[in-house]
């Protein structure tokens, strides 16, 4: 895959002395959805703001489609759409006018058909003549997405796009994002909602204290870092774990009815076979068994805690 955005050794120290980014390097591939996860103040928004030209970098280089964001800012910025975290809207303007403004600002001539398509895809067509001040928070959020899409960008930055949006609308937005990806748009998403990253992203980047801790394919990440639990639902409750099973570090739950074995997915699976053999030899009967894998959230929390 080709990189559409290449970030090399990027650092940012604000005037206050706060170092928001420390030597960050990242390549974003064409057509992917990459989710940047990180706690508040991790540097996600600073990273996006530098790529989009809103914040000046202290050191490092960023290129978009091969164009340097400082030297060739016109070409670099023309292909980017940005949906910022805050709801920054022109309160007194109509939805249509604010989208038309965004399109013009990015050097594109009027195209009412495209704006109609964008507004319809965001379920805003019937609100096109409404002033933005009359819209609900969720609708304003969609207007922000519409503005970012008005100039047909190849790359879309979504900085916490579903913050404060109800569940139904969030799912609608996920659908919009999926459709955009299908049309070839590369999407960089920052989110606090782990399930959003889990649901949408192809790759996950975890950023903490201005550093990228890891960037991995989502499935590989969950497999590689995820702990798994094997839960045996026993036919009869156990009072204590038999001596023969002690090497497996098992735990008893739910009044001795569930026997829990925690293991790493990377580990050799023969341990499970040995465990099941040992259980049979100990005369313990179980009526059912299940395995549970860690969510992205627990992986994230574990990484950020380190």
């Amino acid at each position: 895959m080709n990189s559409v955005i290449s970030i090399a050794n990027l650092s940012k120290t604000y005037e206050s002395g706060f170092q928001a980014l420390k030597n960050v390097s990242l390549d974003i591939e064409n057509g992917e959805i990459i989710a940047l996860l990180g706690p508040n103040g991790a540097g996600k928004t600073t990273l996006i703001s530098i790529v989009c030209g809103i914040v000046n970098a202290s050191a490092g280089k960023v290129s978009v489609n091969g164009y340097d964001i400082v030297k060739d800012y016109r070409q670099a910025r023309a292909s980017i759409g940005l949906v910022p975290q805050e709801l920054h809207t022109e309160t007194f303007e109509t939805v249509w006018n604010t989208l038309a403004f965004s399109r013009g600002l990015f050097g594109k001539g009027p195209d009412p058909e495209h704006l109609e398509k964008v507004l319809r895809s965001l379920s805003l067509w019937d609100k096109k003549d409404n002033k933005i001040m009359t819209l609900s928070g969720g609708m304003k959020r969609r207007v922000m997405i519409g503005k970012a899409l008005a100039h047909e960008p190849e790359i879309l930055f979504l900085d916490e796009p579903t913050a404060g949006v109800d569940v139904e609308l969030r799912k609608d937005m996920w659908q919009v994002v999926r459709e955009l990806r299908e049309s070839g748009v590369t999407i960089i998403l920052t989110t606090h909602y782990i399930e959003e990253a889990e649901e949408m992203a192809d790759r996950i980047g975890i950023i903490n204290k201005g550093e990228i801790i890891l960037v991995e394919d989502k499935r590989a990440l969950m497999q590689k870092l995820g702990e798994k639990r094997l839960i045996l639902h026993l036919s009869q409750p156990l009072e204590a774990i038999p001596e023969a099973l002690e090497p497996f570090n098992l735990s008893l739950k739910d009044g001795g009815l569930n026997l829990v074995y925690t293991y790493d997915v990377q580990q050799d699976s023969s341990d499970i076979t040995s465990l099941l053999d040992a259980i049979e030899n100990a005369g313990i009967k179980f009526r059912d068994l299940e395995t549970m894998q860690n969510s992205l959230e627990s992986i994230f929390v574990n990484l950020v805690k380190k």
């Binding site: 000046n56 980017i80 940005l82 022109e90 309160t91 600002l105």
Partner: protein, 253 residues
Amino acid sequence: MNFHAIKAIYKFEMARTWRTIAQSIVSPVVSTSLYFVVFGSAIGSRMSDIGGVSYGAFLVPGLIMMSLLTQSISNASFGIYFPRFTGTIYEVLSAPVSPTEIVLGYVGAAATKAIMVGSIILVTATLFVDMHIMHPLSMLLFLVMTAMTFSMFGFIIGIWADNFEKLNIIPLLIVMPLTFLGGSFYSISMLPEFWQKVSLFNPVVYLVSGFRWSFYEISDVKVSISFLMTLFFLSVCIVVLHWIFKTGYRLKN
């Protein structure tokens, strides 16, 4: 040159004028008409001619220039301060737009509004006083140059200000007194010699003088000096704006 962007900013800014027509156009026209009634007709009728021009007619260029200055500054400063205040400036900063295009869009719209107000005042003035314009091209040149210069100045104030108080402090505490003391209502030759010399440090003197010369061929300073000084103020504003965009002062962290 990203002409679509210039047009988009210009149109967006002008849309505010039409949305707030009473505040943008009607209000300055009403207040200036009051100046004509009070100073031109009531007090002016008891005053002698200045340089062979009736006091009412003498006032016209000064009043137009006063409105032009205040309108240019307030339109441009608000035009850029408001998106900074609401946060919508992110879109302009992230767009493929050069500083020149941003300035042309915002300053162009602010200057247009100011010239519209100035022109309406000029038309309104004909209802109160008998007047004529001897050098219409020169008048137009001073009108446009002053509107552009002070719109740029207003744009600089709008970037410098980080609250509404600062946004108003320079227009109210500096520009307004300079305008009143800049010969809008009198010829500086009417002042004692010392104050005439002090007045020459007031930039508004050159603007009003040059503009008035275009109407009646009477001026406090030579018209060529007025023209050069206006050009100088324009250049200073361009240099400051260049520095602002180069450093990202108050625009980018």
